[in-house]
Amino acid sequence: MNFADLWKRSRIGIIAVALALVVGILLLLVAGANPFEALGVIIDGSLGSSIRIGDTLMVWAPLVLAAAGLLITFAAGLWNIGVEGQITFGAIAASLVAREVSGPTWLIVTLALLAGLFGGAFWALLAGLLRTYGKVNEIFGGLGLHFVATALAVYLVLGPWKRAGVASTSGTEPFPRESWLPTVGSTRLSWLAIVVAVASVFGVFYLLRGTRFGLRLKAVGKNMRSAFLLGIPTGPYMLAAFALGGGLAGLAGAIQATGFHHKLVPSISGGYGFLGILVAMLAGYAARWIAPIAFVFAMLAVGSTLLPLKLGLDSSVGGVLQGVLVLFTVLAQGWQSRRRNRADEAALGPPEPPVIPGEVG
């Protein structure tokens, strides 16, 4: 791919980030901070020591898993907005293992991660079944199931899994140490979480690029009717996409529970599902861009927590910066699809609704 081609493909993302940067700098100036100093704090806060790099990677891993899973469902033309619920249900399944199974760490951790994988897949399949057999749009089904999963987590934390004598949404009793993901040195970094996240990126890249399944999945995503007429069983393919995507989201939940919080909290998903959607969009639905883009988000999230400490900024500034980035991405995406529709209209007449992301690579 030459430079012009690369620019053409990624310009929307670049423009969005550049605009977000400009607005972010203006916001920091209004807040009375030196933007370069703030940038320095964010970089130092996320990369300044081995511990901080570990902290950043522990945010990166679930974010990458969620985004990688989303690429599969996006490839099938599905808006898997219910990814948050899949993370939560994966975390619940992993928590069940971490609480109930006793044995050596390798066994508990393996079972917990598998439970997360299958839990997330199961939860996504529910949305998939609603979509394929119940004609319920996956956006609504997924959102509904997200609320159900959250309610289930709240119920467990306040009910059957509550601490003795306490009923608080602040979480369950911490898991026994044997079921914590093993960490590297004195950091909070779990190498297993990183291995799982990296493997998911390679796996999704290969799946969508190099397999017959991936090719057919993309055909379903591009034009379901044609794919069906060409003999692809679209229903099972969509269900498979849900199961795989949900499984990766569930793994993210398992890592959140056993590697980060070490207990079940109702907000266990950390918002990484919704953030993962934005990572996937910013990446242009391309697996190879997911890891670096997720890393920038993770740096921003972890590093900006030091802004109040170092520069006396309000603790919500980090969230505002992230929001600005998100806003401009969405605006840029909208602008892009508008332009594409216009071009299509000029060439072919009225556009085919709806516009579904399909350029997976």
Binding site: S267, A301, T305
Partner: protein, 401 residues
């Protein structure tokens, strides 16, 4: 002057100096220029409630000693998903904190981990019991102490103000989550309300006292009940006085809105001295925590290198419960309290002060009918701290085991 007279005068001087030193003790601010302490808050530092009370105590200490305070607010899994309490503690230490205050019940797991990981850094887990050797959850950590105020007194006063004011005989308590602490405080408010309803007003009909728990210390949309809605449901169902047990001021704000529409309703906020400000006219007063003196003492002890991991449960300064240089728990009456109620309340407070009124005296039963205190039995600290259930007469859920 003879030699013996001189020595006698000298002796008197020495004695006076010793007495002065003893009286001053640790609570005289040390010069702590260059000393840094970290403060971890569960909510926003300007929440007009729990977190702001800690924040302002930190400012008080910083002003008196010249120490520097580092603050990280909104540390909870919903607002700060990317960091846990032990990570925040590590950040504060990396920025130079030589002492860390973790100021929420919610931070238990994180601060225990942080104390274990940083054995050389003294830490305080406020409202906790990890350093209470005779408590139920003693953790052997030489660097982790606890501070709590005897808010049961503040809540009894709050309950009394409510009991003296209610016209419908129905009080609603907007509760946070259920644990030992919150059950203790709901029970205290109930005991105060019932006492004043019966003793000062001579009412014989039972007082309605209902608690609704929202699930956390403050509203987290999607995860807790919305305290605004809870407050309105209370007011719709006939309660005319709301008592807040959460970190934020929704109960007062909603009652204020209703009052401005002409309804006869009142509220008692919580935690923070200035909490009445959002609806002063219908505010009966606020029981508040004054963490400053205890935090000052702790900073002094760390600077003087004699920090001890103690469990402190500090009471009000009964000589003057609004003397913020001394008291750990205070009560500030609000404009909404009538003058008649005000004088009864003063009488109640002086009864508590001299011990004539001890509401934690049996016979008292729990909600399930089991005995909490036998007839004439006075509750021990342990029995008050670890209240297992709500008391009989209160409507609402207990945590149970």
């Amino acid at each position: 002057m003879t030699k013996s007279k001189v020595s006698r005068v000298l002796l008197v001087f020495v004695a006076l100096a010793l007495v002065a030193a003893a009286c001053g003790g640790d609570s005289e601010p040390v010069d702590a220029e260059g000393f840094t302490f970290g403060m971890i808050l569960v909510g926003p530092q300007n929440d007009h409630g729990w977190s702001q009370a800690h924040y302002e105590a930190g400012q008080y200490v910083a002003e008196l000693t010249g120490a520097t305070m580092l603050v990280q607010d909104k540390v909870n899994p919903a607002d700060l998903p990317e960091k846990t309490v032990d990570q925040v503690a590590a950040d504060l230490i990396a920025e130079g904190a030589q002492l860390v205050f973790a100021t929420s019940d919610d931070m238990r797991d994180g601060v225990l981990l942080a104390a274990e990981q940083n054995p050389d850094i003294p830490m305080i887990w406020s409202s906790g019991d990890s350093a209470w050797e005779d408590g139920k959850a003693f953790a052997e950590l030489d660097n982790l102490g606890n501070v709590m105020g005897k808010m049961e007194f503040g809540k009894m006063i709050a309950g009394c103000a409510a009991g003296l004011t209610t016209q419908t005989g129905s009080i609603g308590y907007v509760g946070p989550l259920v644990n030992d602490e919150t059950q203790r405080l709901v029970n205290s408010a109930f005991l105060g309300a019932r006492y004043c309803w019966e003793e000062y007003r001579g009412e014989t009909s039972p007082l309605e006292f209902t608690v609704t728990w929202i699930g956390f210390w403050f509203n987290i949309p999607g995860f807790t009940l919305d305290p605004t809605q809870v407050a309105n449901e209370f007011l719709d169902s006939g309660a005319d006085v709301l008592i807040s047990g959460i970190d934020t001021t929704e109960a007062l704000v909603e009652a204020g809105k209703r009052a401005s529409e002409g309804e006869a309703v009142w509220a008692v906020p919580y935690d923070f001295e200035g909490a009445c400000a959002e609806a002063p006219d219908i505010c009966l007063g606020t029981p508040y925590f004054n963490w400053g003196p205890a935090y000052l003492e702790i900073v002094n002890s760390v600077v003087n290198d004699d920090f001890k991991a103690e469990w402190q449960w500090n009471g009000p300064d009964w000589d003057n419960i609004t003397d913020n240089t001394k008291t750990a728990v205070g009560w500030l009456s609000g404009d909404g309290l009538s003058s008649g109620a005000s004088s009864d309340l003063d009488d109640f407070i002086s009864g508590l002060a001299d011990g004539d009124i001890n509401l934690f005296t049996g016979p008292l039963s729990y909600q399930d009918g089991s005995v909490y205190l036998e007839d004439g039995e006075e509750a021990t600290e342990f029995q008050i701290w670890y209240t297992e259930q709500l008391l009989e007469g209160i409507t609402g859920e207990s945590a149970g085991e």
